[in-house]
């Protein structure tokens, strides 16, 4: 099976604009989400990770998801942000996506992940883990309280069981060309073959990711701002 090159797109749930994020702190509007998705679709990128930065505000997420559900995307799509036990049945009624991305549920809502695993299969569940490494200690982001925290006990074991794949976002490199911090892999107890990396990913990082057997990468800025060939990167 081939190494995958996907793209992360953030969606503002109110304006339905695509956002570009820098270092997990600042956003810039890229344009209408419909245009950005159409562009990526034409580009034949391997998959799109569409994230709504909800920070626990799930009502906005479900409205945004329903508004974009009739867009024609013939590219595999993962969506996430604000999906919880209350809205999951509405979201999965007629999925226009193949997979769902979770963050806060990884910490405290295993029943949601278990239920989804029964309804759509474990292949549909992707964990989204933004991280920073401070003074040699890994901290991961929990969107429920909008904080980076130390990794809870048994977190990797639990995530490995409930999630099919993980997207690791280097939040300090996001939106830059400074390269992904591969040091994070030293902290993980999760199979490399089920990991995608994101945040500042460069062409050299793609080669490294392939060499060490990761599942793929999710590119942020470069795909939207730089003319380069996805085929060459593959």
């Amino acid at each position: 099976m081939s190494f995958r090159i996907g793209s992360t797109v953030l969606l503002d749930p109110l304006s339905l604009n695509a956002l570009q994020s820098y270092k997990f702190q600042q956003w810039r509007i890229l344009g209408k989400i419909s245009n950005v998705l159409a562009f990526l679709n034409d580009y034949e990128i391997d998959e799109i990770h569409l994230i709504i930065p909800s920070k626990g505000k799930s009502k906005k997420s479900i409205n945004a998801i329903s508004k974009i559900s009739d867009m024609f995307i013939s590219t595999p799509l993962c969506i996430g942000g604000g999906i919880n036990s209350e809205n999951i049945s509405e979201i999965t009624k007629d999925p226009f996506f193949e997979r769902l991305v979770f963050n806060s549920a990884l910490f405290d809502n295993h029943s949601l992940l278990n239920q989804l695993s029964k309804d759509m299969g474990r292949q549909a569940i992707v964990g989204y883990v933004p991280f920073v490494i401070k003074e040699g200690i890994l901290q991961i982001y929990n969107s429920e309280n909008n904080k980076f925290i130390e990794v809870p006990l048994d977190f990797w074991e639990s995530v490995s069981f409930s999630c099919n794949e993980l997207i690791l976002l280097d939040s300090e490199s996001e939106g830059t060309k400074q390269g992904f911090n591969f040091e994070v892999l030293n902290f993980l107890k999760f199979p490399f073959g089920r990991i995608l990396i994101s945040g500042g990913v460069t062409s050299a990082d793609i080669k490294t990711a392939k060499r060490i057997g990761l599942a793929g990468v999710s590119i942020d800025n470069s795909v939207l701002h730089t003319e380069f060939s996805i085929k060459d990167l593959r």
């Binding site: 099976m1 995958r4 995307i73 590219t75 009624k93 007629d94 309804d119 549909a124």
Partner: protein, 200 residues
């Protein structure tokens, strides 16, 4: 425009399949009960679980209608879960009796693996045209890639045409007027659109 019936039981990625059909210049129609079916292609979509899907097929009596229409020669396409439930049995949901259009079963991948991503796809209808009723088109071959996202695989035990990947996964199977795809043609970009045009 050629007609396409998409089975819509409130489960599965119906809208994605609908978009795929429109992109292929076909005329899709959502079908929730037997009386709504026309003589066009029938598509059973994926992205759901076998137990609940079969329950709803039986409740609406679409299970028997699909079997009847298969016997009359109507073309039926199953995608991912739709392909898996064309067999006799699926291991999903503690075991589920399925439609039995293909002799075979759907079993979990070894070691609870999943299979996500793209595989190369080469297809030449001339290899099958004595056995299978493809559309008469000038274009006879497809060379591209297709997208997989699943945790069960199909094992076929009859004389159907099957294509198995190097990793042991049945990529597709054809028999008479049946077309089963483990991959998602509706999410396989240009390759998927070309494939649907060959089917109808």
């Amino acid at each position: 425009m050629l007609l396409v019936n998409i089975i819509d039981l409130g489960l599965g990625n119906v809208s994605s399949v609908e978009n795929w059909a429109q992109k292929s210049l076909l005329s899709p129609k959502r079908v929730s009960k037997p009386s709504q079916l026309n003589d066009g292609l029938i598509i059973i979509p994926g992205v759901a679980s076998a137990g609940e899907y079969m329950l709803r097929l039986k409740k609406t009596k679409l299970d028997q209608e699909i079997i009847k229409r298969y016997k009359y020669g109507q073309k039926i396409v199953g995608i991912c879960l739709g392909f898996q439930i064309m067999t006799n049995y699926s291991e999903e949901d503690s075991g589920t009796e399925c439609l039995g259009l293909f002799e075979g079963k759907a079993v979990y991948l070894d070691n609870k693996r999943t299979h996500n991503g793209w595989e190369k796809f080469k297809f030449d209808v001339r290899e099958f045209e004595n056995d299978i009723n493809f559309s008469k088109r000038r274009k006879k071959t497809i060379s591209g890639r297709v997208y997989f996202n699943h945790e069960l695989k199909v094992e076929i035990n009859d004389n159907s045409i099957i294509h198995v990947l190097d990793n042991g996964i049945t990529s597709y199977s054809f028999k008479d007027n049946l077309f089963g795809f483990q991959f998602h043609p509706e999410k396989s970009q240009k390759t998927g659109v070309e494939l649907l045009k060959m089917l109808v």
